[in-house]
């Protein structure tokens, strides 16, 4: 189920101050697609993600979400763009002074006219979808790392976004939880048609969910591979790409 480009990254150069991390990045994400961003640690995956959601200003180039430039958008236009996306951060970034339920209810309270009990039901539904309903009234500090990640995804879902950005959702999770998370991504993609941009290292999840993968490289600071995960594994010429897929695969098979 892929269609029009929903995100367009055009000639993006990203970095911090005068340090360039990525340069000349060009790619589109099509509506309904599940895209994974691969790359070694420190290769700039999170940086790319932060640029795509307009959190960090690109050094040059632009990022369009449904045709609106996330960098220059202001006021209502910017809010509209933000309403379309949900982000689950690498560390969870749950608000520690609120219960898990309130974390999810927060944006619903701020941005909708739904009555209190509706918000409560919706928040519990989102939590149920990630398998965390029982922890609704716990504080973030009382949850394990994996639970926090799932809660972060539930929070990202709270406004029914069109696009969901996940930064290393399965890092630090056990294989079963990680597989459940993949299942969740597929379900959300099929039932809600959500577009996913997922930063991940997990080969198993890449093959399980991704329609497409792009790989960024620290040395060349560019995208060194773009295609279906299977094709990248079987056909890529690039040594880094082969290494990424094969070395892990060897380990995985052992």
């Amino acid at each position: 189920m892929t269609g029009e480009p929903i995100i367009q990254v055009k000639n993006l150069t990203a970095g911090y101050g005068s340090t360039v991390i990525l340069k000349g990045i060009n790619f589109d994400v099509r509506a309904g697609e599940i895209l994974t961003i691969l790359g070694g640690s420190g290769s700039g995956k999170s940086t790319l993600l932060k640029n795509m959601i307009g959190l960090t200003k690109p050094l040059s180039g632009s990022v369009l979400i449904e045709g609106v430039d996330v960098v220059t958008a202001e006021g209502q236009e910017r809010l509209d763009v933000l309403r379309k996306i949900g982000v689950a951060y690498q560390s969870g970034a749950l608000f520690g002074s609120m219960t898990i339920l309130s974390n999810i209810a927060l944006v619903l309270e701020e941005f909708t006219d739904l009555p209190r009990e509706a918000i409560e039901v919706i928040a519990q539904m989102k939590l149920k979808a990630v398998g965390l309903q029982a922890a609704a009234y716990k504080m973030p500090a009382e949850l394990s790392g994996g639970m926090r990640k799932r809660a972060a995804i539930a929070r990202a879902l709270s406004l029914d976004p069109k696009i969901l950005f996940l930064d290393e959702p399965s890092a630090g999770l056990d294989p079963i939880t990680s597989a459940q998370l993949d299942e969740l991504v597929l379900e959300l993609s099929q039932s809600l048609g959500i577009t996913f941009v997922i930063v991940t290292h997990e080969l198993a999840s890449i093959f399980a969910v991704a329609d497409r993968a792009i790989m960024v490289d620290r040395e060349s600071k560019t995208i060194i591979a773009d295609g279906r995960p299977k094709d990248l594994r079987d056909k890529s010429e690039h040594p880094m790409v082969r290494q990424f897929f094969s070395r892990r695969l060897e380990k995985g098979n052992a």
Partner: protein
Amino acid sequence: MGIMDGTEQATFRLEPGRDGQATLTLTGRLDRDSTASLWRQSTDRLRELRPKRLIVQVGAVEYCDAAGISLLMEYKRILEQNEGQIEIRDLQPQFQQLMALFEIDHQVLPPKSLGPVANAVHNLGRWAADLFSDFTAQVSFTGEICAKLLKTVLHPGRLRRQDTFLMAEKAGVNAMGITALLGFLIGLILAFQSAAAMQNFGAEIFVADLVAIALFRELGPLITALVLASRSGSAFAAELGTMKVNEEIDALVTMGLDPVQFLVLPRLIAAVCMLPLLTMFNLLFGLIGCGVVMTTWDIPISTYIERISAAATLGDIFGGLAKTFVFGTLIAGIGCLRGLQTGTGPSAVGDSATRAVVSGIIAIVVADGVFAVIYYFLGI
């Protein structure tokens, strides 16, 4: 005869039937906005009607998101409360998937809180227990610090010298500006205020006696200690608290490094060495402040200085400075203890810093009172 209502986007129609049966028909788009407007009306009507069996017709719903599903969940809950049955009919397949994903069989309730009286009793007991455990923690921490301080004095090589100097710079050198300013202003104000009384007797010169003794014995050490408590006591608590929250303290312990030796002693030693020096600095500027006022009354500087040396004894000065060693120990010890006691969560560090300053100030004032009694009996 049905009740029909809604918005342009979505409508609902509730039709009572035979035998307590009812049909609720939803049409249109069930998104956040339309659900928000349907919610109250439709659930209120449903509660009034109390059907034994409800059929929800959703065949004509063209769009439905999580908000729409939540509305169906709410109908289900209302029916369950009234011991009725619910049947959701003709939900389109793509929304059925959504329903499967989000459907909840029951709502998790918030943990029960106690009633107001029980709560007050609970809090009182909690408060008393906390106070007691706080006190014992303080005592055992003081003991630990003393033991380790003694060890460090015997083996000075074990002290982290660089950290100690860094802390001395932060807590001492960087506080010189504010200490001087406060000293100057206090000297100035004190001289000015007491002048009013003294001038009635033509005894302006005795302002020097008053200011010097007040500063040396009480105000200088006290004000400087308050500066240290608010600048550095809070900083110590925040630094150690952040380390605690990030599990850095645990990392130290598992590496076999003692947090007290490694983190607390450098701060303690720095504070204890710096506070007396800062106090002297504060006193100097206090006297200068007073001197400025005296010169406006045409009293020569030399007379002023003579007056001070006649009025204040060495006992006054050293009695005041002796207190600062105790104040410094209290401030650094409490700051570090509060830091190490930091709980979890983002507000924990802030709470620790606040607690460090509050208990630091209380400790200073209490210690000052104890000194006053001791000095009285010793005749200093």
